[in-house]
């Protein structure tokens, strides 16, 4: 995970909100550049998180060949 503690899902949802802002009535050209920079950073963070996370595979020790 990248420096912040946000999950990938949180970051993806944050990015979606930023993208929605560009189509919303709140859009102003003055704020657009800042928002764009935030979106760019989130995209880089998400890519970093997704590529660095590894799966943890555990083989259960219990034997299933009998009821015990």
């Amino acid at each position: 995970m990248s420096s912040t503690n946000k999950s990938i899902q949180e970051k993806t949802s944050e990015l979606s909100k930023l993208v929605e802002w560009f189509d919303s009535e709140d859009f102003t050209l003055e704020a657009a550049l800042d928002k764009f920079k935030q979106a760019e950073k989130l995209a880089v963070d998400i890519e970093h998180d997704l590529t660095s996370l590894k799966n943890e595979i555990n083989i259960v020790k219990k034997k299933f060949d009998s009821d015990n």
């Binding site: 993806t12 990015l15 995209a43 997704l50 590894k54 943890e56 595979i57 555990n58 259960v60 299933f64």
Partner: protein, 367 residues
Amino acid sequence: MEKSKNQPIFSVSDFIAVVNQTFEYAYPNIEVEGEVSSFKVNQGKFIFFDIKDSGGSVGCFMTVWQLRTPIEDGMKVIVSAVPKLTQWGKFSLTVKSVRPSGEGALKKSFELLKAKLEAEGLFALDRKRQLPTSPQHIAVISSTQAAGYADFIKIINDRWGGLKVDVAHVQVQGTGAPDQIIRAINYFNQQESLPEVIVVIRGGGSADDLAAFNDELLVRAIATSRIPTLVGVGHETDESLADLVADVRAATPSNAAQILVPDKNEIIRAVHVQVSSLLPRIMQLIDQQKQLIMERLYSVIEVIERAVDERVVQLSSLRSVLLQLNPNTVLARGYAIVKGIIKTGSMIEIETNKAILKAEVINVINK
């Protein structure tokens, strides 16, 4: 036991007991293949049938709970049994398990059980639960030595990260497989921290190899799992009852991995596309603003131009009025200007368009 000329004399009960001990010693478990006939269920608990071939017939006995796959007269089966002489002197096989033998019997058994479970509503769409879109903890039931398992893990690792995968290594074919898979399902369902999905996978194989996934108790265990289930058994064309009862069916183990987790590469691509679509959006909005400003400017210019035009028209009309009022214009129309005192005998000046005349007033007649 008495003895007669070195020959033991048994009571009937002892003889039966000795015969059964001999059977148990000689044949602790035998498998017999043959065709089912005279199949019947007594009191909903006990099953009796004969197993026969062209040369003979043997009676079989078992309980309904031991019958894991439906059978009927004419089906070829393999019974796993212990030979027994009953107290009435009848020889029979006490059956521990029955499995269909041959493609036709497997198919018939599959269809019978499918119809039964379908009638109970086990395959109904409204029973199906959705799988979480991005699970964090999953359980996998498979043989860790199977190719299908290796495919599944490879694709999971290629597509997603951060997943906790608990794997129950079980037999995925043969008579012991259904019970092992059932135990693994129960094991995961009893965990304190429940996995979000149970995935049951097995690669392709013959109809006999895949028969374990048509076991009635296994199908019911999948149906009653409180954890949603994803089953990917065999190839795309294979259909098992475990597939039908699962919340989600995958065509293959690889397909199960694709269904289970999103593809991180697609997400990364989509995220960058989302962001790069913002810049043209900003540029488009700047262009729109520019256009709006230009339109407003043009409309202001238009208002000014219209006002100027109106003034020009006004001036022109005033000019023409002024022109009409010009004494020279009046003179040009033939009128004359008379200057001086108008009385008889006085001298006056008369100005016409072309000359100025001096004249004497001869007579004045008032109008």
